[in-house]
């Protein structure tokens, strides 16, 4: 058994989970919104990319670039007109509304696209790999990982270095007082969800080129995304990536022992982290 390879593959898988989770983490961190439709939104974005690729004959990466503003708009509208009404102390309304949304998206896509498995083709990139001494890594998984890191660097720059980022954090602390500073919380939240949807589009690009997807393949990975967010701690994006990597490595290590343990090992790693750090690895000081 090649331990080095197992761990490398686990880390790369963690990049994928981190990417799935980054948007969720952003939304969860700023609005305490548990978005059960996150997985379905990734699938929605994947279909959007697919449509752009097949109708306009675009390269998937170009298609994703075009899909980003569209998804931003969808996210913005969703938050502004729907999800903002559910925010509050109670976690049930967002839970229920996003679950409803998840069902609506899934079945809407089913009506529109049928249950067929789809794929976005990335050409020869798909099977390309680089040799890193004792191990080989696929180019696509590497790109996924690098994209996850890049996304998190960018989001962190935005949140901690810009005035919009300050507004995000302030609104997250106290929307009413943020209003007194001239911040429109409804729009800040909408913008945050819009941004999350841009990240979702990137995640969708890698989901769609990596494996088949169909309208119902969203929820399967939702739980990993949540686990990554929670392991990392509320509001910490690097923590989310770390959470993804912990899950990924736990899964590949578990699978190396016996594939029966693959997914179980990821969940057990999650439970173990929470047992010792109930607020995740890098919790925010306040709240």
């Amino acid at each position: 058994m090649n331990w080095l390879d197992t761990i490398l593959q686990g880390v790369l898988l963690g990049g994928l989970y981190g990417l799935f989770a980054a948007g969720l983490s952003l939304v969860f961190g700023i609005m305490r919104l548990v978005n059960l439709a996150h997985g379905d939104l990734i699938v929605l974005a994947a279909f959007l990319i697919l449509v752009l690729v097949t109708t306009l004959g675009l390269d998937p990466f170009v298609a994703a670039l075009i899909a980003m503003p569209l998804m931003f708009a969808i996210g913005w509208g969703l938050q502004y007109f729907l999800l903002n009404r559910t925010l509050g102390k109670d976690i049930l309304p967002p839970l229920l509304v996003t679950f409803g949304l998840s069902i609506v998206i899934q079945n809407g896509l089913l009506e529109g696209f049928s249950a067929d498995s789809r794929r976005v083709f990335a050409g020869s990139l798909e099977s390309a790999s680089v040799n890193l001494g004792p191990v080989t890594a696929g180019i696509m998984p590497l790109m996924t990982f690098v994209s996850a890191v890049a996304v998190i660097v960018c989001l962190n720059q935005l949140i901690y270095r810009t005035s919009v980022g300050r507004a995000f954090r302030a609104t997250s602390d106290d929307p009413v007082t943020a209003g007194l500073m001239g911040i429109r919380p409804q729009r800040i939240f909408a913008m945050a969800t819009g941004l999350a949807m841009v990240v979702v589009t990137i995640a969708a690009l890698y989901l769609g080129t990596r494996a088949n997807f169909d309208p119902t393949s969203g929820p399967a990975r939702l739980i990993y995304a949540f686990e990554a967010v929670i392991i990392g701690g509320l509001g910490s994006l690097w923590g989310t990536l770390a959470g993804g990597i912990i899950l990924g490595v736990a899964q590949t290590l578990g699978a190396a022992i016996n594939p029966e343990w693959q997914i179980l090992a990821g969940h057990l790693a999650f439970l173990a982290v929470l047992l010792f750090k109930p607020r995740g690895l890098f919790p925010r000081a306040a709240d």
Binding site: R166, A170, S172, D174, A178, L180, M181, G182, R284, D287
Partner: protein, 239 residues
């Protein structure tokens, strides 16, 4: 001429009516104190003016424009800033960031910049990178005032800035007010400490149970008048 004016302002929380027809006026460059016991409706008045609570459009006029129905960010954009009761600093932001966010919705040139706020409250400069919640209560209040000033408002509303602060700290904070006045801004101070209020204010409004029960120039009001308006009893009844 009145810069800011409320006309028959009413406000309710659900079924509970907190204000019953409040009229106040604030002139340019004037400092107004609003006093009254707990629950008199002072905070409600501030929240109505600053747009946190929605009201009838015409019940609040600013430069003759009806602004009663506008949301908070629009009010700030017009130049009315608020220092809320209980300070309400943002715990995720550092001291400096708390100040910087004060002009998020209104970036106009004026006397107040990060530097001039730091010169008003020098202790904040030393702690600029600390999380705002790591400061003492008095220092937090300074951040809250500084944050209100950052948008260079024409009217600054201050709700209970001495609440729960030790008298020494209160004195330090009030020491800053003359310099704020010098810049020409109007100030509305909500205060329970009557003596303090009378010291800084040009005019005083006294509120009880959602109504203005007394108003006039600070210098003209007798302590007994105020007492009666404030507590509903004569001063001499006090032991």
């Amino acid at each position: 001429m009145a810069l800011l004016e409320t006309r028959g302002l009413t406000a309710s929380y659900g079924d509970f009516q907190a204000l019953f027809g409040v009229d106040i006026t604030v002139g340019a460059g004037e400092t107004i104190a609003i006093i009254g016991a707990n629950g008199a409706g002072k905070t409600t008045l501030m929240r109505s003016i600053s747009g946190v609570l929605a009201n009838a459009a015409s019940s609040i006029l600013y430069r003759d424009e009806p602004i009663g129905a506008l949301p908070a960010p629009d009010i700030l954009a017009r130049g009315i800033a608020m220092v809320p009761e209980g300070r309400k600093l943002f715990p995720s932001l550092s001291v400096e960031e708390n100040l910087l966010i004060g002009n998020y919705g209104r970036k106009v040139d004026g006397p107040w910049t990060l530097e001039s706020v730091f010169s008003l409250f020098p202790v904040l400069k030393e702690r600029r990178d600390n999380p705002a919640t790591a400061l003492s209560g008095g220092q937090q209040q300074m951040v809250a005032i500084g944050r209100g000033l950052m948008s260079n408002p024409a009217v600054l509303l201050c709700d209970e800035i001495s609440l729960g602060l030790a008298p020494v700290v209160v004195r330090d904070i009030y020491a800053a007010f003359p310099r704020i006045r010098e810049t020409g801004a109007s100030i509305v101070i909500v205060e329970q400490d009557i003596a303090q209020a009378l010291k800084v204010a040009d005019r005083v409004y006294c509120m009880m149970e959602g109504r203005v029960t007394l108003f006039g120039r600070a210098a003209d009001l007798s302590r007994n008048d105020i007492h009666k308006a404030y507590f509903g009893t004569d001063h001499h009844e006090l032991a």
